[in-house]
């Protein structure tokens, strides 16, 4: 679904490349989380996927990015928008309309989709994101989490196969963040939309994503199934990616030689690990 080959990018007026020889293949229906310290090039990578780079933000672009079979250099943003939906960090800055309905219609109107079709698509994407009750709301009335879900609805109204989200929960409270990830999970499982999400809250990523990509200084450092990536605790801690408390707990137990096995990804699994260790100790 996404093929990135030897991608390097250098922003104008910048000496250090933001991306340095990235190679990444993401298949259909994957739920991929991208983590990494600030300045690792995560956002730049997201902008390369939706064609904003190189069409809107300029710089030196090397390599090849293909989304849904479309080369991002040969196709303009509008054509890529049919395949890749984008959601950004700031809920305030990506909402252009004053009514929820109009916000979802915005992309459809831009692509000259007929009126009747727009009405059907609005209904569909509101249902998919579970916010049908917000349809007649004014966008200024919404909470941050609701705004982000409207942004997601607006992105999927174009029926993209891929959804790219750049830190969608960074300005949200824990409840709002959870809502977003539940929505993403639903879109991934029920509608098999490929999801690529950049996120600082590693706990959410470990619980929801099947695959993790760790970036540092414009390169991909680690890439693989979530548990396998989490096993590289030394590297993660060295580059300043904090793991969730349950992962750290398991890592400490492993270091003490008390536990061998897979890394837990949530509290339930951690409970099993700890009770196993305790029962072995007792014996």
């Amino acid at each position: 679904m996404i093929q990135i080959k030897g991608l390097s990018f250098l922003y104008n007026d910048s000496k250090e490349p933001a991306l340095n020889n990235i190679n990444l293949q993401i298949g259909e229906g994957e739920f991929v989380g991208i983590v990494g310290p600030t300045g690792a090039g995560k956002s730049t990578l997201a902008l390369c996927l939706n064609g904003v780079i190189p069409h809107f933000l300029h710089g030196e672009f090397y390599g090849e990015v293909k989304v849904d079979g479309k080369d991002t250099v040969e196709n303009d943003c509008a054509r890529i928008a049919y395949s890749v939906g984008s959601v950004f960090q700031d809920p305030e800055a990506q909402i252009v309309s004053t009514r929820v309905e109009d916000e979802i219609a915005f992309g459809l109107e831009n692509l000259n989709i007929p009126r009747i079709e727009i009405a059907a698509r609005i209904k569909e994407s509101l249902e998919m994101t579970g916010i049908s009750d917000l349809r007649d709301y004014s966008t200024t009335q919404l909470s941050g989490g609701q705004k982000q879900r409207v942004a997601i609805a607006s992105a999927i109204a174009l029926r993209p196969k891929i959804l790219v989200l750049d830190e969608p929960t960074s300005e949200l409270d824990p409840k709002g963040s959870l809502d977003i990830f539940n929505t993403l999970q639903k879109l991934n499982k029920e509608y098999s939309i490929t999801i690529v999400v950049i996120e600082q809250k590693i706990q959410l990523l470990t619980e929801y994503c099947s695959r993790l990509v760790v970036m540092e200084k414009g390169s991909v450092l680690l890439d693989g199934p979530t548990r396998n990536v989490l096993a590289n605790q030394e590297i993660l801690q060295k580059i300043g990616v904090n793991s969730s408390p349950v992962t750290r707990l398991a890592y400490m137990l492993k270091k003490e030689g008390l536990y061998q096995g897979e890394f837990p990804i949530n509290v339930e699994e951690a409970y099993l690990v700890v009770s196993k260790v305790l029962s072995e100790k007792r014996r």
Binding site: V52, Q94, V96, D102, E109, N110, L111
Partner: protein, 255 residues
Amino acid sequence: MPAMVEYIQTDSFFHRLNPITKILWTFAVLIISFLFNSPIPILVILLSNLLIALASGIIKQVLPMMKALFIFSFILILCQIFFVDEGKTLFYAIPYFNIGKVTDAGLNMSLVMSFRMVATVSTIPILMMTTPMTDMVVVLVEKLKIPFKYAFMFITALRFIPTLMGEIEQIMQAQMSRGYNSDTRNPFKKMVIVIPLAIPLLVSSIKKTEKMAISMEARGFASGPRSYFRKIVMGKADYAALVLLLTAILSPALL
């Protein structure tokens, strides 16, 4: 802090009118106010504006604006009323020294000017408060053939008012928590005080604009011909209102 002219959702007769009818109404008020040269008919128009605001359920928001407009127009009156020499002298502002002569012609002219100003300007917030911006854009682009980019610029500017208000509040609190005193009644001091607020606001709004542009770009903005979700039609009420407006414009000619 709510923005000055935000759309207020209620289900009133005036809300349901076609935006074009309402735009024509603002022009009709303008034309009629200039056709008359005595204060009473213009006052009647002014009252009709208030009546529309009352019927639309936005009188609470409109009254303070009217008040502000009247204060402004009173200042305008003071600036010119003493300079009219024609007509009968009614009284002097400072009686014993015969300074500040007020004539009937002067009073008449000032009242006409003042009512005219308030009547014509107050239609704009009434229009804005009763018409959703998206509807306005649809008629501006589809009926009045204004390029979409300009219409879009206009609505985004309005859309950003509450956002920027929130931003100002935040910056102000940040500055105040570091001991910055922004509390003064002196307007000149206030101007100086605003500068440290204006620069961060400018920087953050430029950043916001860029983010918004990227988000719009990712949804195919300005990629070619555009369709519109909302459809706005002229109803019976619109034609009735247009007939009413036309008679109102023609009536001074008949009188």
